[in-house]
Structures are given as C-alpha cells and as structure tokens.
Symmetry: C2
Subunit: 312 residues, 2 copies
C-alpha cells in the first residue's frame, strides 16, 4: 500500500475512544454469572470481577488495541473483542498481583483480595483470565483465531515469567540487564500484545517484532519513571524485594550520578520506542508514540535526586 | 444415522487411550518457557507446571474427551487438542484449589504451593489456565473455535462459582439442593466439558444438555462416594467448612438412616447418569457410563456407617 493510501485510511479512521464503552460492556458481560437462574448458589468471584472492572483505570491496553485496529482498518466488532481480551488479561494480572504483593489499594479503593479475601481473589483473577480468551470468540476473523490465541498465550506466559522473577528477586545481585528483562516481560508483554493482535487481525503480522521492540523500550522507560517517583519508598527498607533503577545503577563502579543515568536511559528508551512506533504500518503505533512523548515530558519533570541521597 | 452405521463407527474407532501420551506431550509443550533464549530471567511457574503435570493422575477428563472424539469420528489432532485443553483446565484448578484448601499433598507428592510457595502457585495455575485455551489453537476446526471457546469459558466460570461457594460454605445451613448445586458446578462442569467439546467438534452440539445431565448426576454420586469414604475426617471437626452428605442428611427431620439414604441417592444418580450416557449419539458417552458402573460397585462396597455414628 502506498503512502497516500496509508494517510487516507488514517485520516478517515473512526475515533477509537468512542468504542471504549462497548469494550467495558463486553468485559462486564463476560464475567457475569451465566448460571444464576439454574443454580441456587451465589458467586462472590463474579461479583468481585465486576467490582474490580468498575473501579475504572486508564484502559491503556484497550485503547492501544482500538487505536491500532482503527488505523489498520480492522472492523469495530473485531477491535472491541481484541481490546476486551487484552484489558481483561491485564486486569486479571492486577487482581493476582495485588494479592501476591499484598497491595491493599487499587485505583483508590480496596484491592479485590482486601475487599473479598484471598481465596475469592484467586478465583476472580482466574475468571477474568478465562473471560479474556472468551472475548476472542467474539471476533469474526475465524481463520486468524488460532494465531490470536497463540500470541495471547505467549504473552501471558511471558508476563507470568516476569511476575515470578519480580516476586523472587534478589535485589542485591540485580544488574541492568536483568532489570530490563523483568520490565520487558512483566510490563512489555501486555503493552505489546494489543498492537500485536491488531497486526494479526489486520493481516500485518510481519510487524510483530517491531511492535514488541517499541513496547519493550516503553516498558523500561515507564519502570524507570515509576522508580524515580517511588525512590523514597523503595529505598526505605520497607520494600526490600523491589528493584529500583536508582539502586541498581548505584552498584555501578563508575560512581556516576544514578539519577542522571536513569533519566538518560529512560529518555533514550522513549526515543527508540517512538522510532519503532513510527515505523509500524498505517500509523498503527500512533497511540504508543503519543504515550511515549507524554512520558518523556513526565520524566524530564521529575525532581532530581542527588548522588549523595541516592547513595544512602 | 442408523443404528448399524453407529455400531460400525464405534467398532472401528481407534483406541483413544493410545492418544494419551500425545496429550501429555502437548500439555508439557504448552507450559514450556518459550522465551528462555531471549531473556536472562528464569521462571519457577513454568517449572512448577511441569512438576505438577508430571505427578501423573488418572487423566479422566482427557480420556473422556478422547473417547467421545473417537466415537464421534473427530480426528486425532482435534481430539488431542481438546483433551489437552480440558485436562489443563482441570489441573489449573487443582493447583489453585490445593492452595486455597491448604492441601499439602497432591498425588502422593507435595502440592505446588507446598513445594514452590503460594505466589508461584498462583502464577502456575494462571499459566495452565492460559495454556488450556492455547491448546484450542491446535485444532483444525476453525469455524467451530468460537463455540469451543465460549463453552470452555462457560464451564470455567461455573466451576469457579462452585469453588467459591465451597470455600465460603456455611455447612450448618446446607441443604441437599445446595449440596447438589455445588457438586454440579465444582465437579460436574469440568466432567461434562470433555464430552461437550467433542460433541461441538463432531457437529452434534444439540446433545450438550444430555451430556451435562449425565456429568451432573455422576458428579453428585462421586461426591457422595468421597464423603462416605471421608466421613470420619469430615465429622472430626478439623474440617468445619466441608459439607459431607452424611452430615447434610442428618439434618433431615425424618430421622432416616443417613448412610443408607446417601447410598440410595448415589446409586440413583449413577443409574440416571448411565441412562443419559447411553442416549448420547454414536456411543460418545461410553466411557462415562463405564466409570458410572465402576463407581456404582465402589459405592456398594463402602462400609456402612450406623445411624448412631452418623448422628454423633
């Protein structure tokens, strides 16, 4: 397809954010108790899943899928199904992560495990993970479904690897390579998946590696931003298992300023992510490029941490 | 199809147990860490999933799927994929159930949570649940995949409802109707699914309700058998949340012998299950009918518990 056709398609693409309410409706429908009339028992897991989804959130992964689908000419029904699938996967992981990390608060309210108990939280995450795959049944591209399923499982498997590594981390021996590998798997996997599924549905799967590159770089930069913001908490000793980039870079023997090094690395990653996004076909990575731009500003606006403080 | 053709097909069907080793190989492949070469971090969840699968088990659900597929003329590739899907779902539920119930031993070895820790067990169950859906990507019946996915999610959702109810049960107010509803959802759902998926793949989905009826009745009978065997443990007070049928029937004001009543109910359910199986098309329920027959003998061979003891 030539450049002109590309631009025509992009300009006439619908505003994908208009589809977001349909994504939310589909997600809620997929975690509903379908056996209510036939069975006397009640299910707290179904209630907890609806509770969690209704806490809101930015729906970044759903929006990445919708934006890429709209750019690639994937139709509304398919776009909504793919967006619901990735957003359900992400939220399933949040429900289980909060339990594992003992994080009490999610989106300003009690996390599922804190509100409903640990056992219900396990069931709730399971329900949402299963619902994510059921969302794929709503797509109309039958011949592509096997590929969509395989890609989803590959990313879930990779994200689980990241979560496990993060939970079992020995922060004393952590180096930059492992730090990046954890960010790739724990965050990059489910940030890349929305664009990857859209590329498969749009018949452009040869670009998957490029999408993954963009999401991986973005994920590392996001983790760096998060670490700079959380530095005080992470270095206080309350959070011994957490690997903060400033603590990782402190172990560098060159004695460089770890805040400046982290900032430079984050900005470099975002530049790389933006480049990779801009090379994706039919502008399908435009939303991730926008998010990278925004994160770049946020990174630059962080309060510098002096070497002395970072070395405490 | 006339009766003769039915019998011809059944007699020439392959021995489905010969496919079991391929099911095991597929399951192990689907929980393998595919990112090993690209990523320095290791994943205990993948190791734990292989550990759990290699503990063995009867593979009842895989065998039910294989038997039904062979009877219905579903080809080997599809049969193996469907069998792996249901067996992975069942094993995912075991990994999470053992953690929730704090059961230390599974198949004579340490349960995953006892061997690898609670957090890894959560990740392991998630990995296996995701792998179950990835197994569906191995089928060759593309147009039927949406229906297979929907049916899987419906049963996972129902099984989760059963697990939640069981965990949160108030055994004091439990009646026979709720007891049966929990058995339907907690056990019946994943016993019915193998035959249901085979019926969908074999183009006979109009028989799904019949398959469900058979599996539900079998599930209640199995639960009754289990309860009679476990009566001493369940009534000792160590297990206050467990709803044993003998304790449920004790609350019946007629003062009948609860062991005899449980036995009669179990045998009736097995008779109903066998009848329902025998009406399934192309003898696709033959293995469940055989299991019902076997369970009937086991039930009759249980040691009677006198009313006095059951009323302690």
């Amino acid at each position: 397809m030539n450049r002109l056709a590309d631009e025509f398609l992009v300009k006439t693409a619908p505003n994908p954010d208009l589809w977001l309410s349909s994504v939310d409706a589909l997600m809620l429908d997929l975690v509903k108790d379908q056996e209510q009339s036939k069975n006397t028992i009640s299910s707290l897991a179904h209630e907890a899943a609806a509770y969690h989804l209704q806490l809101g959130g930015h729906r970044i992964r759903a929006r990445l899928a919708l934006a890429a689908c709209a750019s690639l000419g994937v139709n509304e029904t398919n776009a909504i199904a793919l967006a619901a699938a990735v957003e359900l996967l992400h939220n399933a992981s949040l429900v289980h992560d909060d339990l594992q990390d003992e994080d009490l608060i999610r989106r300003g309210s009690k996390a599922v495990w804190a509100q409903f108990g640990s056992n219900v939280a396990i069931c709730t995450g399971d329900l949402m993970l299963s619902a994510a795959y059921a969302a794929i049944a709503q797509t109309q591209c039958y011949a592509l479904i096997p590929e969509l399923l395989k890609q989803m499982h590959a990313k879930v498997s990779y994200a689980i690897k990241g979560q496990c590594s993060d939970l079992l981390l020995d922060s004393k021996t952590l180096n930059l390579k492992t730090y990046e590998d954890i960010a790739f798997s724990k965050s990059g996997a489910l940030l890349s998946l929305p664009i990857e599924l859209a590329l498969i549905a749009g018949g452009k799967k040869e670009w998957i590696t490029q999408a993954r590159q963009a999401a991986d770089d973005f994920a590392v930069a996001y983790q760096i931003y998060d670490d700079i913001e959380d530095f005080e908490k992470d270095s206080s000793g309350d959070c011994i298992h957490h690997a903060n980039i400033l603590l990782v870079l402190q172990s560098d023997p060159s004695g460089m300023n770890s805040y400046q090094a982290a900032l430079d690395l984050g900005l470099l990653k975002l530049e790389q992510a933006t480049n990779a996004c801009n090379h994706l076909p039919m502008n399908s990575g435009y939303l991730l490029a926008e998010l990278a731009q925004k994160l770049s500003h946020q990174l630059k606006a962080t309060t510098p941490i002096s070497s002395d403080i970072a070395r405490q």
